[in-house]
Protein backbone atom coordinates (compact mmCIF):
# COMPACT_ATOMS: atom_id res chain seq x y z
CA UNK A 1 0.00 0.00 0.00
CA UNK A 2 2.76 2.39 0.94
CA UNK A 3 4.45 1.91 -2.42
CA UNK A 4 1.21 2.89 -4.12
CA UNK A 5 0.97 5.97 -1.95
CA UNK A 6 4.57 6.90 -2.70
CA UNK A 7 3.47 6.97 -6.31
CA UNK A 8 0.67 9.44 -5.76
CA UNK A 9 2.78 12.50 -5.23
CA UNK A 10 1.72 15.86 -6.54
CA UNK A 11 4.67 15.87 -8.93
CA UNK A 12 3.60 12.60 -10.50
CA UNK A 13 -0.04 13.56 -10.68
CA UNK A 14 0.84 16.86 -12.29
CA UNK A 15 3.11 15.06 -14.71
CA UNK A 16 0.17 12.89 -15.74
CA UNK A 17 -2.28 15.77 -15.86
CA UNK A 18 0.03 17.60 -18.27
CA UNK A 19 -0.12 14.52 -20.45
CA UNK A 20 -3.89 14.58 -20.22
CA UNK A 21 -3.76 18.24 -21.25
CA UNK A 22 -1.79 17.35 -24.37
CA UNK A 23 -4.22 14.53 -25.12
CA UNK A 24 -7.14 16.94 -24.91
CA UNK A 25 -5.38 19.62 -26.98
CA UNK A 26 -4.56 17.17 -29.76
CA UNK A 27 -8.09 15.76 -29.71
CA UNK A 28 -9.75 19.16 -29.70
CA UNK A 29 -7.54 20.48 -32.50
CA UNK A 30 -8.18 17.35 -34.56
CA UNK A 31 -11.92 17.52 -34.03
CA UNK A 32 -12.01 21.21 -34.95
CA UNK A 33 -10.06 20.58 -38.17
CA UNK A 34 -12.15 17.48 -38.88
CA UNK A 35 -15.39 19.40 -38.59
CA UNK A 36 -14.18 21.94 -41.13
CA UNK A 37 -12.88 19.27 -43.50
CA UNK A 38 -15.87 17.02 -42.85
CA UNK A 39 -18.31 19.84 -43.64
CA UNK A 40 -16.54 20.51 -46.94
CA UNK A 41 -16.53 16.81 -47.76
CA UNK A 42 -20.20 16.32 -47.04
CA UNK A 43 -21.18 19.41 -49.00
CA UNK A 44 -19.08 18.12 -51.91
CA UNK A 45 -20.89 14.84 -51.50
CA UNK A 46 -24.10 16.62 -52.43
CA UNK A 47 -22.45 18.49 -55.29
CA UNK A 48 -23.87 18.46 -58.78
CA UNK A 49 -20.46 17.66 -60.23
CA UNK A 50 -19.85 13.96 -60.53
CA UNK A 51 -16.10 14.32 -60.05
CA UNK A 52 -16.47 16.15 -56.75
CA UNK A 53 -19.00 13.65 -55.49
CA UNK A 54 -16.71 10.79 -56.45
CA UNK A 55 -13.69 12.38 -54.80
CA UNK A 56 -15.54 12.96 -51.58
CA UNK A 57 -16.86 9.40 -51.52
CA UNK A 58 -13.45 7.94 -52.31
CA UNK A 59 -11.89 9.95 -49.50
CA UNK A 60 -14.46 8.80 -46.98
CA UNK A 61 -14.19 5.16 -48.03
CA UNK A 62 -10.40 5.23 -47.96
CA UNK A 63 -10.12 6.58 -44.44
CA UNK A 64 -13.08 4.69 -43.07
CA UNK A 65 -11.61 1.37 -44.11
CA UNK A 66 -7.99 1.71 -43.02
CA UNK A 67 -6.63 1.82 -39.49
CA UNK A 68 -5.78 5.08 -37.80
CA UNK A 69 -2.43 3.78 -36.65
CA UNK A 70 -1.43 3.43 -40.29
CA UNK A 71 -2.08 7.10 -40.95
CA UNK A 72 -0.20 8.11 -37.83
CA UNK A 73 2.78 6.14 -39.11
CA UNK A 74 2.27 7.61 -42.55
CA UNK A 75 2.27 11.25 -41.53
CA UNK A 76 5.17 10.73 -39.16
CA UNK A 77 7.51 8.52 -41.17
CA UNK A 78 6.54 9.02 -44.79
CA UNK A 79 5.53 12.68 -44.72
CA UNK A 80 8.28 13.27 -42.10
CA UNK A 81 6.33 15.90 -40.17
CA UNK A 82 7.29 16.83 -36.60
CA UNK A 83 5.32 14.79 -34.02
CA UNK A 84 2.59 17.25 -33.07
CA UNK A 85 1.56 18.35 -36.58
CA UNK A 86 1.88 14.76 -37.75
CA UNK A 87 -0.48 13.64 -35.00
CA UNK A 88 -3.04 16.36 -35.68
CA UNK A 89 -2.87 15.75 -39.42
CA UNK A 90 -3.30 11.99 -39.06
CA UNK A 91 -6.24 12.40 -36.71
CA UNK A 92 -7.80 15.05 -38.92
CA UNK A 93 -7.53 12.88 -42.02
CA UNK A 94 -8.95 9.87 -40.26
CA UNK A 95 -11.65 11.58 -38.21
CA UNK A 96 -12.88 13.85 -40.98
CA UNK A 97 -14.13 10.79 -42.85
CA UNK A 98 -16.36 9.92 -39.92
CA UNK A 99 -17.29 13.55 -39.33
CA UNK A 100 -18.27 13.89 -42.99
CA UNK A 101 -20.85 11.18 -42.44
CA UNK A 102 -22.06 12.86 -39.26
CA UNK A 103 -22.38 16.21 -41.04
CA UNK A 104 -24.22 14.53 -43.87
CA UNK A 105 -26.67 13.11 -41.35
CA UNK A 106 -27.02 16.55 -39.78
CA UNK A 107 -27.62 18.23 -43.14
CA UNK A 108 -30.23 15.65 -44.02
CA UNK A 109 -32.05 16.64 -40.84
CA UNK A 110 -32.52 20.23 -42.00
CA UNK A 111 -35.86 20.52 -43.79
CA UNK A 112 -35.68 21.13 -47.54
CA UNK A 113 -37.75 24.25 -47.03
CA UNK A 114 -34.80 25.88 -45.29
CA UNK A 115 -32.65 25.45 -48.39
CA UNK A 116 -35.40 26.77 -50.62
CA UNK A 117 -36.13 29.69 -48.34
CA UNK A 118 -32.44 30.63 -48.24
CA UNK A 119 -32.14 30.50 -52.01
CA UNK A 120 -35.35 32.49 -52.46
CA UNK A 121 -33.92 35.22 -50.22
CA UNK A 122 -30.89 35.50 -52.47
CA UNK A 123 -28.27 33.75 -50.37
CA UNK A 124 -25.43 32.30 -52.39
CA UNK A 125 -24.60 28.63 -51.83
CA UNK A 126 -21.71 29.29 -49.40
CA UNK A 127 -23.77 31.90 -47.53
CA UNK A 128 -26.70 29.54 -47.37
CA UNK A 129 -24.63 26.77 -45.80
CA UNK A 130 -22.68 29.08 -43.51
CA UNK A 131 -25.57 31.16 -42.14
CA UNK A 132 -28.67 29.04 -42.54
CA UNK A 133 -28.05 25.34 -42.91
CA UNK A 134 -24.94 24.49 -40.89
CA UNK A 135 -26.02 26.31 -37.70
CA UNK A 136 -29.22 24.29 -37.69
CA UNK A 137 -27.47 21.08 -38.63
CA UNK A 138 -24.90 21.60 -35.89
CA UNK A 139 -27.55 21.29 -33.22
CA UNK A 140 -28.30 17.78 -34.33
CA UNK A 141 -24.67 16.89 -34.86
CA UNK A 142 -23.41 17.80 -31.40
CA UNK A 143 -24.03 14.41 -29.77
CA UNK A 144 -22.38 12.44 -32.54
CA UNK A 145 -19.49 14.89 -32.65
CA UNK A 146 -18.93 14.55 -28.93
CA UNK A 147 -18.90 10.76 -29.27
CA UNK A 148 -16.33 11.20 -31.97
CA UNK A 149 -14.38 13.36 -29.54
CA UNK A 150 -14.41 10.51 -27.03
CA UNK A 151 -13.17 8.11 -29.70
CA UNK A 152 -10.40 10.53 -30.62
CA UNK A 153 -9.30 10.94 -27.00
CA UNK A 154 -9.02 7.19 -26.68
CA UNK A 155 -7.14 6.92 -29.94
CA UNK A 156 -4.52 9.48 -28.95
CA UNK A 157 -3.11 6.70 -26.80
CA UNK A 158 -1.43 5.36 -29.97
CA UNK A 159 0.76 8.42 -30.18
CA UNK A 160 3.23 7.36 -27.53
CA UNK A 161 3.89 4.01 -29.17
CA UNK A 162 4.00 5.44 -32.66
CA UNK A 163 5.89 8.69 -32.32
CA UNK A 164 6.82 9.06 -28.64
CA UNK A 165 4.53 12.02 -28.13
CA UNK A 166 4.07 12.49 -24.39
CA UNK A 167 0.32 12.43 -24.04
CA UNK A 168 -1.41 10.75 -21.11
CA UNK A 169 -0.42 7.23 -22.14
CA UNK A 170 3.15 8.33 -22.78
CA UNK A 171 3.43 10.10 -19.44
CA UNK A 172 2.16 7.01 -17.68
CA UNK A 173 4.64 4.79 -19.48
CA UNK A 174 7.50 7.17 -18.63
CA UNK A 175 6.54 7.05 -14.97
CA UNK A 176 6.36 3.29 -15.20
CA UNK A 177 10.04 3.19 -16.06
CA UNK A 178 10.99 4.67 -12.70
CA UNK A 179 8.82 2.34 -10.63
CA UNK A 180 9.43 -1.34 -10.71
CA UNK A 181 7.21 -3.11 -8.19
CA UNK A 182 4.28 -4.93 -9.75
CA UNK A 183 1.84 -3.15 -7.49
CA UNK A 184 3.13 0.21 -8.59
CA UNK A 185 2.95 -0.71 -12.26
CA UNK A 186 -0.65 -1.80 -11.93
CA UNK A 187 -1.43 1.25 -9.84
CA UNK A 188 -0.11 3.34 -12.70
CA UNK A 189 -2.21 1.41 -15.20
CA UNK A 190 -5.21 1.98 -12.98
CA UNK A 191 -4.43 5.66 -12.68
CA UNK A 192 -4.16 6.04 -16.45
CA UNK A 193 -7.36 4.07 -16.95
CA UNK A 194 -9.11 6.18 -14.36
CA UNK A 195 -8.06 9.45 -15.98
CA UNK A 196 -9.19 8.32 -19.40
CA UNK A 197 -12.37 6.95 -17.95
CA UNK A 198 -13.29 10.11 -16.07
CA UNK A 199 -12.85 12.30 -19.12
CA UNK A 200 -14.53 9.97 -21.59
CA UNK A 201 -17.34 8.97 -19.28
CA UNK A 202 -18.09 12.60 -18.43
CA UNK A 203 -18.24 13.42 -22.13
CA UNK A 204 -20.50 10.50 -22.90
CA UNK A 205 -22.81 11.59 -20.10
CA UNK A 206 -22.93 15.05 -21.69
CA UNK A 207 -23.88 13.36 -24.95
CA UNK A 208 -26.72 11.56 -23.21
CA UNK A 209 -27.98 14.64 -21.44
CA UNK A 210 -27.90 16.57 -24.70
CA UNK A 211 -29.74 13.80 -26.51
CA UNK A 212 -32.36 13.74 -23.83
CA UNK A 213 -32.83 17.48 -24.15
CA UNK A 214 -33.05 17.27 -27.93
CA UNK A 215 -35.68 14.64 -27.59
CA UNK A 216 -37.53 16.54 -24.91
CA UNK A 217 -37.86 19.53 -27.23
CA UNK A 218 -39.98 17.61 -29.65
Amino acid sequence: MSDVLSLLTWVNIRFMLEGLGLTLVISALSIACSVALGAVLSILRGSRLRVLRGLSMAYVELFKNTPLLLWIMFTFFVAQLPPLPAAVLAFTLFTSASVAEIVRGGLAGVPVGQYEAARSQGFSAPQMYLFIILPQALRNMVPALLSQFVTTIKDTSYLWGAMALQELMGRGMILMNSYNSTTQIFALFALMALMYFVVCFALSQVVRAYQRRLRGDW
Binding site: L68, M73, F77, I102, A108, P143
Partner: protein, 382 residues
Protein backbone atom coordinates in the same frame (compact mmCIF):
# COMPACT_ATOMS: atom_id res chain seq x y z
CA UNK B 1 7.89 12.20 -52.71
CA UNK B 2 8.99 10.21 -55.74
CA UNK B 3 11.99 9.01 -53.81
CA UNK B 4 9.79 7.69 -51.01
CA UNK B 5 8.02 5.40 -53.44
CA UNK B 6 11.07 4.51 -55.58
CA UNK B 7 10.65 1.31 -57.61
CA UNK B 8 13.54 -0.53 -55.93
CA UNK B 9 11.77 -0.08 -52.60
CA UNK B 10 8.69 -1.72 -54.00
CA UNK B 11 10.86 -4.53 -55.29
CA UNK B 12 12.36 -5.03 -51.83
CA UNK B 13 8.84 -5.23 -50.39
CA UNK B 14 7.69 -7.62 -53.08
CA UNK B 15 10.49 -10.01 -52.16
CA UNK B 16 8.99 -10.35 -48.72
CA UNK B 17 5.63 -11.51 -50.06
CA UNK B 18 5.47 -14.71 -47.99
CA UNK B 19 5.84 -12.64 -44.84
CA UNK B 20 3.20 -10.21 -46.00
CA UNK B 21 0.87 -13.08 -46.63
CA UNK B 22 1.58 -14.59 -43.22
CA UNK B 23 1.01 -11.23 -41.52
CA UNK B 24 -2.22 -10.76 -43.46
CA UNK B 25 -3.29 -14.24 -42.37
CA UNK B 26 -2.55 -13.38 -38.75
CA UNK B 27 -4.67 -10.25 -39.03
CA UNK B 28 -7.54 -12.25 -40.49
CA UNK B 29 -7.13 -14.94 -37.83
CA UNK B 30 -7.09 -12.48 -34.94
CA UNK B 31 -10.07 -10.66 -36.40
CA UNK B 32 -12.11 -13.81 -36.88
CA UNK B 33 -11.42 -15.21 -33.41
CA UNK B 34 -11.94 -11.83 -31.75
CA UNK B 35 -15.19 -11.42 -33.64
CA UNK B 36 -16.44 -14.74 -32.27
CA UNK B 37 -15.66 -13.63 -28.72
CA UNK B 38 -17.13 -10.19 -29.34
CA UNK B 39 -20.36 -11.64 -30.76
CA UNK B 40 -20.74 -14.07 -27.88
CA UNK B 41 -20.13 -11.38 -25.25
CA UNK B 42 -22.11 -8.80 -27.17
CA UNK B 43 -25.25 -10.87 -27.51
CA UNK B 44 -25.03 -12.18 -23.96
CA UNK B 45 -24.59 -8.74 -22.43
CA UNK B 46 -26.96 -7.10 -24.89
CA UNK B 47 -29.78 -9.41 -23.87
CA UNK B 48 -28.91 -9.12 -20.18
CA UNK B 49 -28.93 -5.33 -20.43
CA UNK B 50 -32.68 -5.36 -20.99
CA UNK B 51 -33.22 -7.81 -18.17
CA UNK B 52 -35.73 -7.07 -15.48
CA UNK B 53 -33.12 -7.71 -12.82
CA UNK B 54 -31.47 -4.54 -11.72
CA UNK B 55 -28.21 -6.23 -10.81
CA UNK B 56 -27.81 -7.73 -14.26
CA UNK B 57 -28.51 -4.38 -15.88
CA UNK B 58 -25.93 -2.71 -13.68
CA UNK B 59 -23.35 -5.38 -14.44
CA UNK B 60 -23.79 -4.95 -18.19
CA UNK B 61 -23.73 -1.19 -17.82
CA UNK B 62 -20.44 -1.30 -15.93
CA UNK B 63 -18.91 -3.65 -18.49
CA UNK B 64 -19.96 -1.46 -21.39
CA UNK B 65 -18.87 1.80 -19.81
CA UNK B 66 -15.50 0.50 -18.66
CA UNK B 67 -14.70 -1.09 -21.99
CA UNK B 68 -15.89 1.87 -24.05
CA UNK B 69 -14.27 4.63 -22.04
CA UNK B 70 -10.76 3.26 -21.68
CA UNK B 71 -8.46 3.14 -24.70
CA UNK B 72 -8.09 -0.25 -26.32
CA UNK B 73 -4.32 0.08 -26.26
CA UNK B 74 -4.34 0.50 -22.49
CA UNK B 75 -6.51 -2.58 -22.14
CA UNK B 76 -4.11 -4.51 -24.33
CA UNK B 77 -1.14 -3.34 -22.25
CA UNK B 78 -2.86 -4.32 -19.02
CA UNK B 79 -3.63 -7.80 -20.32
CA UNK B 80 -0.08 -8.05 -21.59
CA UNK B 81 1.18 -7.28 -18.09
CA UNK B 82 -1.40 -9.33 -16.21
CA UNK B 83 -0.86 -12.72 -17.77
CA UNK B 84 2.79 -13.25 -16.80
CA UNK B 85 1.74 -12.29 -13.30
CA UNK B 86 -0.75 -15.14 -13.22
CA UNK B 87 1.98 -17.48 -14.33
CA UNK B 88 0.52 -17.77 -17.81
CA UNK B 89 2.59 -17.00 -20.83
CA UNK B 90 0.14 -16.13 -23.52
CA UNK B 91 1.33 -15.31 -27.01
CA UNK B 92 0.53 -11.77 -28.07
CA UNK B 93 -1.74 -13.32 -30.69
CA UNK B 94 -4.08 -14.60 -27.99
CA UNK B 95 -3.77 -11.46 -25.91
CA UNK B 96 -4.89 -9.59 -29.00
CA UNK B 97 -7.80 -11.93 -29.61
CA UNK B 98 -8.93 -11.61 -26.01
CA UNK B 99 -8.49 -7.87 -25.62
CA UNK B 100 -10.11 -6.98 -28.94
CA UNK B 101 -12.88 -9.49 -28.41
CA UNK B 102 -13.75 -8.07 -25.01
CA UNK B 103 -13.45 -4.49 -26.26
CA UNK B 104 -15.78 -4.95 -29.19
CA UNK B 105 -18.07 -7.14 -27.12
CA UNK B 106 -18.97 -3.94 -25.28
CA UNK B 107 -19.81 -2.15 -28.50
CA UNK B 108 -21.78 -5.08 -29.91
CA UNK B 109 -23.68 -5.33 -26.66
CA UNK B 110 -24.84 -1.74 -27.18
CA UNK B 111 -25.81 -2.56 -30.74
CA UNK B 112 -27.82 -5.56 -29.58
CA UNK B 113 -29.40 -3.58 -26.77
CA UNK B 114 -30.56 -0.82 -29.06
CA UNK B 115 -31.75 -3.41 -31.58
CA UNK B 116 -33.89 -5.04 -28.93
CA UNK B 117 -35.03 -1.63 -27.73
CA UNK B 118 -36.29 -0.76 -31.18
CA UNK B 119 -38.71 -3.66 -31.22
CA UNK B 120 -42.15 -2.43 -30.35
CA UNK B 121 -43.10 -3.27 -26.81
CA UNK B 122 -46.27 -4.86 -28.10
CA UNK B 123 -44.12 -7.69 -29.37
CA UNK B 124 -42.89 -8.45 -25.86
CA UNK B 125 -46.36 -8.24 -24.41
CA UNK B 126 -47.87 -10.31 -27.17
CA UNK B 127 -45.21 -12.97 -26.76
CA UNK B 128 -45.73 -13.05 -23.01
CA UNK B 129 -49.48 -13.15 -23.39
CA UNK B 130 -49.09 -16.16 -25.66
CA UNK B 131 -47.19 -17.94 -22.93
CA UNK B 132 -43.63 -17.67 -24.24
CA UNK B 133 -41.03 -17.84 -21.52
CA UNK B 134 -38.59 -14.91 -21.31
CA UNK B 135 -35.90 -16.95 -23.07
CA UNK B 136 -38.32 -18.04 -25.78
CA UNK B 137 -39.58 -14.49 -26.16
CA UNK B 138 -36.04 -13.32 -26.76
CA UNK B 139 -34.81 -16.06 -29.05
CA UNK B 140 -37.98 -16.80 -31.01
CA UNK B 141 -39.75 -13.45 -31.19
CA UNK B 142 -37.56 -10.47 -30.40
CA UNK B 143 -34.08 -11.27 -31.67
CA UNK B 144 -35.20 -12.51 -35.10
CA UNK B 145 -36.95 -9.19 -35.62
CA UNK B 146 -34.14 -7.18 -34.07
CA UNK B 147 -31.55 -8.81 -36.34
CA UNK B 148 -32.64 -6.56 -39.19
CA UNK B 149 -31.71 -3.56 -37.10
CA UNK B 150 -28.68 -5.14 -35.49
CA UNK B 151 -26.99 -6.35 -38.66
CA UNK B 152 -25.94 -3.06 -40.28
CA UNK B 153 -24.12 -1.67 -37.23
CA UNK B 154 -22.74 -5.15 -36.63
CA UNK B 155 -21.02 -5.03 -39.99
CA UNK B 156 -19.61 -1.61 -39.09
CA UNK B 157 -18.36 -3.11 -35.85
CA UNK B 158 -16.69 -5.95 -37.70
CA UNK B 159 -14.85 -3.45 -39.89
CA UNK B 160 -13.80 -1.46 -36.82
CA UNK B 161 -12.60 -4.65 -35.20
CA UNK B 162 -10.37 -5.44 -38.15
CA UNK B 163 -8.97 -1.93 -38.07
CA UNK B 164 -8.36 -2.15 -34.35
CA UNK B 165 -6.25 -5.29 -34.68
CA UNK B 166 -3.57 -2.85 -35.81
CA UNK B 167 -2.93 -1.80 -32.20
CA UNK B 168 -1.29 -5.16 -31.68
CA UNK B 169 1.62 -3.81 -33.70
CA UNK B 170 2.59 -1.99 -30.52
CA UNK B 171 2.91 -5.26 -28.59
CA UNK B 172 4.62 -7.12 -31.43
CA UNK B 173 1.47 -8.94 -32.43
CA UNK B 174 2.97 -10.21 -35.66
CA UNK B 175 0.04 -9.00 -37.72
CA UNK B 176 -0.10 -6.78 -40.78
CA UNK B 177 0.64 -3.48 -39.10
CA UNK B 178 3.51 -5.01 -37.15
CA UNK B 179 4.99 -6.40 -40.33
CA UNK B 180 4.78 -2.99 -42.03
CA UNK B 181 6.36 -1.29 -39.07
CA UNK B 182 9.22 -3.71 -38.77
CA UNK B 183 9.83 -3.81 -42.51
CA UNK B 184 9.79 -0.01 -42.59
CA UNK B 185 12.08 0.12 -39.56
CA UNK B 186 14.55 -2.42 -40.97
CA UNK B 187 14.82 -0.99 -44.43
CA UNK B 188 13.55 2.59 -43.96
CA UNK B 189 11.40 2.00 -47.03
CA UNK B 190 8.41 3.53 -45.30
CA UNK B 191 6.31 4.42 -48.32
CA UNK B 192 5.68 1.00 -49.86
CA UNK B 193 5.33 -0.70 -46.48
CA UNK B 194 2.45 1.49 -45.35
CA UNK B 195 0.75 1.68 -48.73
CA UNK B 196 0.73 -2.10 -48.97
CA UNK B 197 -0.75 -2.35 -45.46
CA UNK B 198 -3.38 0.25 -46.34
CA UNK B 199 -4.40 -1.70 -49.44
CA UNK B 200 -4.69 -4.96 -47.52
CA UNK B 201 -6.69 -3.45 -44.66
CA UNK B 202 -8.92 -1.78 -47.20
CA UNK B 203 -9.45 -5.12 -48.91
CA UNK B 204 -10.94 -6.57 -45.72
CA UNK B 205 -12.81 -3.56 -44.40
CA UNK B 206 -14.33 -2.20 -47.58
CA UNK B 207 -16.57 -5.22 -48.23
CA UNK B 208 -17.68 -5.12 -44.61
CA UNK B 209 -18.64 -1.47 -44.69
CA UNK B 210 -20.38 -1.91 -48.04
CA UNK B 211 -22.32 -4.74 -46.48
CA UNK B 212 -23.30 -2.37 -43.69
CA UNK B 213 -24.61 0.18 -46.18
CA UNK B 214 -26.46 -2.49 -48.12
CA UNK B 215 -28.03 -3.97 -45.00
CA UNK B 216 -29.03 -0.54 -43.73
CA UNK B 217 -30.66 0.23 -47.05
CA UNK B 218 -32.47 -3.06 -47.06
CA UNK B 219 -33.66 -2.48 -43.53
CA UNK B 220 -35.12 0.92 -44.44
CA UNK B 221 -36.90 -0.50 -47.46
CA UNK B 222 -38.19 -3.38 -45.44
CA UNK B 223 -39.52 -1.10 -42.77
CA UNK B 224 -41.20 1.02 -45.40
CA UNK B 225 -43.01 -2.00 -46.69
CA UNK B 226 -43.92 -3.13 -43.20
CA UNK B 227 -45.47 0.07 -41.91
CA UNK B 228 -46.33 2.01 -45.01
CA UNK B 229 -44.73 5.25 -43.96
CA UNK B 230 -41.68 4.60 -41.86
CA UNK B 231 -38.85 5.34 -44.22
CA UNK B 232 -39.82 8.94 -44.77
CA UNK B 233 -39.72 9.72 -41.09
CA UNK B 234 -36.56 7.74 -40.70
CA UNK B 235 -34.83 9.61 -43.48
CA UNK B 236 -35.65 12.99 -42.05
CA UNK B 237 -34.90 12.10 -38.48
CA UNK B 238 -32.25 14.58 -37.42
CA UNK B 239 -30.77 12.49 -34.68
CA UNK B 240 -30.12 9.64 -37.00
CA UNK B 241 -26.46 8.86 -37.21
CA UNK B 242 -25.58 7.78 -40.70
CA UNK B 243 -23.92 4.46 -41.40
CA UNK B 244 -20.27 4.29 -40.60
CA UNK B 245 -20.15 7.65 -38.93
CA UNK B 246 -19.85 6.07 -35.57
CA UNK B 247 -19.60 2.71 -34.03
CA UNK B 248 -23.31 2.22 -34.16
CA UNK B 249 -25.79 3.40 -36.75
CA UNK B 250 -29.28 4.64 -37.21
CA UNK B 251 -32.02 5.14 -34.75
CA UNK B 252 -30.46 2.47 -32.71
CA UNK B 253 -27.38 4.60 -32.31
CA UNK B 254 -29.35 7.63 -31.30
CA UNK B 255 -31.08 5.59 -28.67
CA UNK B 256 -27.88 3.96 -27.54
CA UNK B 257 -26.27 7.35 -27.15
CA UNK B 258 -29.25 8.70 -25.31
CA UNK B 259 -30.49 5.67 -23.46
CA UNK B 260 -28.26 5.24 -20.49
CA UNK B 261 -29.52 2.79 -17.98
CA UNK B 262 -33.09 3.23 -19.21
CA UNK B 263 -34.83 -0.02 -19.66
CA UNK B 264 -36.04 -1.46 -22.90
CA UNK B 265 -39.65 -0.72 -22.11
CA UNK B 266 -39.00 2.96 -21.64
CA UNK B 267 -36.91 3.15 -24.76
CA UNK B 268 -39.26 1.29 -27.02
CA UNK B 269 -41.88 3.98 -27.50
CA UNK B 270 -39.42 6.81 -27.92
CA UNK B 271 -37.35 4.86 -30.30
CA UNK B 272 -39.53 4.24 -33.29
CA UNK B 273 -41.60 7.32 -33.97
CA UNK B 274 -42.54 5.89 -37.34
CA UNK B 275 -44.37 3.10 -35.65
CA UNK B 276 -45.89 5.29 -33.02
CA UNK B 277 -47.93 7.03 -35.66
CA UNK B 278 -48.73 4.42 -38.25
CA UNK B 279 -50.40 5.44 -41.46
CA UNK B 280 -54.21 5.64 -41.49
CA UNK B 281 -54.41 2.37 -43.34
CA UNK B 282 -52.46 0.67 -40.60
CA UNK B 283 -54.62 -1.99 -38.93
CA UNK B 284 -53.54 -0.84 -35.49
CA UNK B 285 -55.51 2.34 -35.93
CA UNK B 286 -58.71 0.47 -35.33
CA UNK B 287 -57.67 0.21 -31.71
CA UNK B 288 -56.90 3.85 -31.14
CA UNK B 289 -60.08 4.52 -29.21
CA UNK B 290 -59.28 1.85 -26.68
CA UNK B 291 -55.73 3.06 -26.16
CA UNK B 292 -55.82 3.94 -22.52
CA UNK B 293 -53.67 1.15 -21.22
CA UNK B 294 -50.79 3.33 -20.13
CA UNK B 295 -52.95 6.24 -19.10
CA UNK B 296 -52.75 8.25 -22.30
CA UNK B 297 -55.94 8.08 -24.29
CA UNK B 298 -54.42 8.87 -27.65
CA UNK B 299 -51.68 6.26 -27.50
CA UNK B 300 -51.72 3.78 -30.33
CA UNK B 301 -52.73 0.23 -29.73
CA UNK B 302 -50.07 -1.78 -28.01
CA UNK B 303 -49.68 -5.34 -26.98
CA UNK B 304 -50.46 -4.02 -23.55
CA UNK B 305 -54.12 -3.92 -24.48
CA UNK B 306 -53.84 -7.33 -26.04
CA UNK B 307 -52.50 -8.52 -22.72
CA UNK B 308 -55.39 -6.83 -20.92
CA UNK B 309 -57.93 -8.44 -23.20
CA UNK B 310 -56.23 -11.76 -22.70
CA UNK B 311 -56.29 -11.19 -18.96
CA UNK B 312 -60.04 -10.45 -19.09
CA UNK B 313 -60.65 -13.64 -21.00
CA UNK B 314 -58.44 -15.46 -18.57
CA UNK B 315 -60.32 -14.13 -15.55
CA UNK B 316 -63.62 -15.11 -17.10
CA UNK B 317 -62.30 -18.54 -17.87
CA UNK B 318 -60.96 -18.94 -14.36
CA UNK B 319 -64.26 -17.93 -12.82
CA UNK B 320 -66.17 -20.33 -15.03
CA UNK B 321 -63.78 -23.12 -14.22
CA UNK B 322 -64.10 -22.39 -10.53
CA UNK B 323 -67.89 -22.46 -10.77
CA UNK B 324 -67.79 -25.66 -12.78
CA UNK B 325 -65.64 -27.41 -10.23
CA UNK B 326 -67.85 -26.40 -7.30
CA UNK B 327 -65.34 -24.01 -5.82
CA UNK B 328 -62.56 -26.58 -5.63
CA UNK B 329 -59.57 -24.42 -6.49
CA UNK B 330 -57.26 -27.32 -7.16
CA UNK B 331 -59.57 -28.87 -9.72
CA UNK B 332 -60.23 -25.51 -11.30
CA UNK B 333 -56.50 -24.94 -11.59
CA UNK B 334 -56.04 -28.32 -13.21
CA UNK B 335 -58.88 -27.62 -15.59
CA UNK B 336 -57.20 -24.42 -16.67
CA UNK B 337 -53.65 -25.60 -16.83
CA UNK B 338 -53.67 -29.23 -17.82
CA UNK B 339 -55.37 -30.98 -20.62
CA UNK B 340 -56.22 -33.92 -18.38
CA UNK B 341 -57.87 -31.64 -15.85
CA UNK B 342 -59.98 -30.01 -18.52
CA UNK B 343 -61.04 -33.36 -19.88
CA UNK B 344 -61.89 -34.63 -16.41
CA UNK B 345 -64.01 -31.59 -15.65
CA UNK B 346 -65.79 -31.72 -18.98
CA UNK B 347 -66.32 -35.46 -18.66
CA UNK B 348 -67.58 -35.37 -15.12
CA UNK B 349 -70.20 -32.71 -15.70
CA UNK B 350 -71.59 -32.89 -19.17
CA UNK B 351 -72.63 -29.55 -20.59
CA UNK B 352 -70.88 -27.57 -17.88
CA UNK B 353 -67.35 -28.53 -18.88
CA UNK B 354 -64.87 -25.69 -18.84
CA UNK B 355 -63.42 -26.87 -22.11
CA UNK B 356 -66.73 -26.57 -23.92
CA UNK B 357 -68.13 -23.33 -22.68
CA UNK B 358 -64.98 -21.36 -23.18
CA UNK B 359 -63.62 -20.41 -26.57
CA UNK B 360 -60.56 -22.45 -27.14
CA UNK B 361 -58.28 -19.58 -27.99
CA UNK B 362 -59.17 -17.66 -24.85
CA UNK B 363 -58.03 -20.40 -22.52
CA UNK B 364 -54.63 -19.96 -20.99
CA UNK B 365 -52.32 -22.35 -22.74
CA UNK B 366 -51.79 -25.72 -21.14
CA UNK B 367 -48.46 -26.27 -19.41
CA UNK B 368 -47.07 -28.50 -22.12
CA UNK B 369 -46.41 -26.11 -24.95
CA UNK B 370 -46.62 -27.00 -28.55
CA UNK B 371 -44.09 -24.45 -29.61
CA UNK B 372 -44.33 -21.04 -31.13
CA UNK B 373 -46.36 -21.93 -34.22
CA UNK B 374 -49.54 -21.98 -32.22
CA UNK B 375 -48.84 -18.62 -30.65
CA UNK B 376 -48.24 -17.08 -34.02
CA UNK B 377 -51.43 -18.44 -35.45
CA UNK B 378 -53.39 -17.08 -32.54
CA UNK B 379 -51.89 -13.66 -33.00
CA UNK B 380 -52.49 -13.32 -36.71
CA UNK B 381 -56.04 -14.53 -36.23
CA UNK B 382 -56.76 -11.49 -34.15
Amino acid sequence: MGEVFAPYKWAALAERWPDILAAFGTTVGISALALVIALALGFAFGVLSVSRHRVLRIVTRVYVEVVQNIPLLLQVFVLYAVFPLLGLSLASFWIGVLAIGVYHGGYISEVVRSGIGSIHRGQFEAARSQGFSPVQTMTLVILPQAMRIILPPLAVQAANLVKNTSVLALIAGGELMYFSNSFAGDTSYYGPAYVAAAVLYFAICFPLSRAAVYLEHRMLVHRHVATGDASEELASDPVEVTPGSHDITGHAAAEALAGGVGTMMEGATLLVPARQAPSPRHPLHAWDAAGECDGSGDAPFTGCQAAEIAADFGLEAAQEALAASDGDRMRAWQALHTRAGRRRLGHGRPGAGAGRTMPHGALPRPRRRRGPARGKRGRSGR
